[in-house]
Symmetry: C2
Subunit: 370 residues, 2 copies
């Protein structure tokens, strides 16, 4: 473990993930009260944090359960006492489907849901559920702009929903309608419009399903970048924000909307200056301590900029004299560009409050990749 | 575990890291015989594979030990029976230095070395070694073009070496002289020239150290991209190649040199087609299954190109009809852009030979980030 309760920030072994609990608590409260006011339920995405400690805090704050992407994650969250888990993803192949059915059987007192976008998979799922004496909630995924998975049209959604209804082991719950690419559109009007298009498409599919006599109790989707627009309409029953608990700087690049609650950076990578020469410092954190798909983690202090990142190092060069006094052994807080794959690199999150370590939480589903 | 011995490739749960053992064996043999012919010792970098199984195979093939970057890695390799470990990195801060000294004490029958580039750290290291009754090998790191760590000049190397000699717990072994940025220079003449410059600088420092009566038994450095040039001169006693066992496509971008042994791609990410629509397929492997810092993992088959990568997905679109028949559930082999941070995402490497799973190896030092 990189720290002990009571340690100062400077005592934490680095590189380490550090969670500012005051910011975390504030982010969670803002999300829950905004969603409550809008009348939607919150099912936070646990792929962001992969932590039972955080999932239980989200549920204590009013979340109805969690989302995840992999069976391995669902196993950990169900095993850790979360009673309502939705895999917002397609699961394919008999081996995986059997594992899913066995999980549903093992936790038959909990809710477990999965998404489908293909008839043949629905039939295989039904078959293994019968073999394993299991039942599952099923959501038809509708592509509402992500262009990644999901059926393309409302007509196809109806057709697939009809197929699900033919299998008594499967309970058709509704629609998964997540517009992932909408989350990071920079301008407020663009994000709002993308959310509106997604909701309109989901509403059309829901209407067609209901016309056809098919149940569609829940439309679920939406993320940190669009949740207020998603929640504000009358289409989404549930929202699935993940990143809001941490906030990475890629989300911070989005134009702010004064009508939407703002979230603070709560998650940091703590690093140590391990070498310095003139106007160059080298930190002990690189590609194995943060993901660079949205750019390298950025220092929270001024006067220095990231010049290069390699596996275990980040090299910073001096921009001007505005920054702190730097010496070998000094600690540096960095804001990750993209929290989800950054969290997945670590075994532990060190929680701090006003500069003191409060606890060290295991990242329970770290590496639950399949 | 994602597979069992005897499984076919199609049975492996995905996403999974897959190692082709015939290619791996060939890569190891080519490296060892080339280095043997050139008269240099091989100390493979274990930061690439983080695996005791691989480290022991490297040593059985003639490697003298391994390199690593972190104390956590050194703990695992020493604990797993590797008797000679060099941390090719600076370790700073009393907490970490004490852990290092304790490790040296615990494995006092083995060799453990570390790099230094700062006088104050040498003094702290000496102090904790005395307190813990431990001794360590020390290498002065000389910056030979990486511009990341290491002293800048031969004169500084001599000065720091002299400081090391003042501390009886520390054994001055020689110079760490790794030109990391030289490894990925695309042209053969550029790589050759960068290696030559690095070797010349190391030779100068060694000569000055010897003139000053300081020991410099070992000059160590060099990587997969330059090892034959490093090995060919009379400066390097040891080379530290890591990536050669796996080969990523970033190394494959280097211009080939007919005089240098070529390595084959031995490491793959196996994924499954989890959704498809028209000329688009979605695989179940994304940023949490491979690192994208050198670009997304690339399909081994023709006819398709990667369009986008998100946390758990890669979307491929059709280029032409040259590719294989694709259906939901089909498996896809991908070549990682950068092996080291990709390996670090996984708990297991599935080893295969001629399409059958031979074994599943734990990635022992996965996540040993501090």
């Amino acid at each position: 473990m990189p720290a002990q309760p009571g340690d100062a920030l400077a005592d934490i072994d680095t590189p380490a993930l550090v969670l500012d609990l005051d910011c975390f608590d504030g982010n969670l409260e803002r999300m829950m009260s905004a969603a409550g006011a809008a009348g939607v339920r919150v099912r936070p995405h646990a792929k962001s944090h992969k932590s039972l400690q955080i999932a239980h805090r989200q549920i204590a704050a009013g979340a109805i359960g969690v989302c995840c992407q992999k069976i391995g994650e669902a196993e950990i969250f169900l095993g850790g006492g979360i009673r309502d888990v939705l895999i917002t993803n397609e699961i394919v192949g008999v081996r995986k489907l059997r594992r899913l059915a066995q999980l549903a059987k093992l936790f038959s007192g909990a809710r477990l849901g999965v998404c489908v976008d293909d008839t043949s998979v629905v039939r295989q799922l039904s078959l293994v559920c019968a073999e394993e004496d299991a039942g599952l909630d099923v959501y038809v995924e509708l592509d509402v702009g992500q262009n990644r998975a999901g059926v393309a049209t409302s007509a196809e959604a109806v057709e697939l929903a009809r197929e699900v209804m033919r299998h008594p082991r499967l309970t058709l719950m509704g629609l998964q309608a997540y517009a992932g690419s909408a989350q990071h559109r920079r301008g407020v009007p663009e994000r709002r419009a993308a959310s509106k298009r997604a909701a309109a498409k989901a509403a059309e599919a829901r209407a067609l399903m209901r016309e056809a006599g098919l149940p569609c109790e829940i439309v679920t989707g939406g993320g940190t970048g669009t949740f207020m627009y998603d929640a504000g309409g009358d289409v989404y029953d549930e929202i699935q924000p993940g990143s809001f608990v941490f906030m990475d700087f890629d989300y911070a690049r989005n134009e702010r909307d004064a009508d939407v609650p703002q979230f603070e950076h709560a998650l940091f990578v703590l690093a140590t200056v391990m070498s310095m020469r003139g106007d160059r410092i080298t930190l002990d954190a690189g590609l194995k301590a943060f993901s660079t798909d949205s750019g390298p983690a950025r220092p929270t202090f001024t006067g220095w900029q990231v010049q290069s990142v390699s596996d275990e190092h980040s090299v910073l060069t001096r921009l001007d004299d505005s920054g702190p006094d730097v010496r070998i052994g000094a600690k540096a807080l960095l804001v990750p560009g993209h929290c989800d794959p950054t969290v997945n690199l670590h075994d532990w999150i060190v929680t701090v409050r006003r500069g003191r370590v409060e606890d060290v939480w295991r990242i329970d589903a770290r590496g639950a990749v399949f």
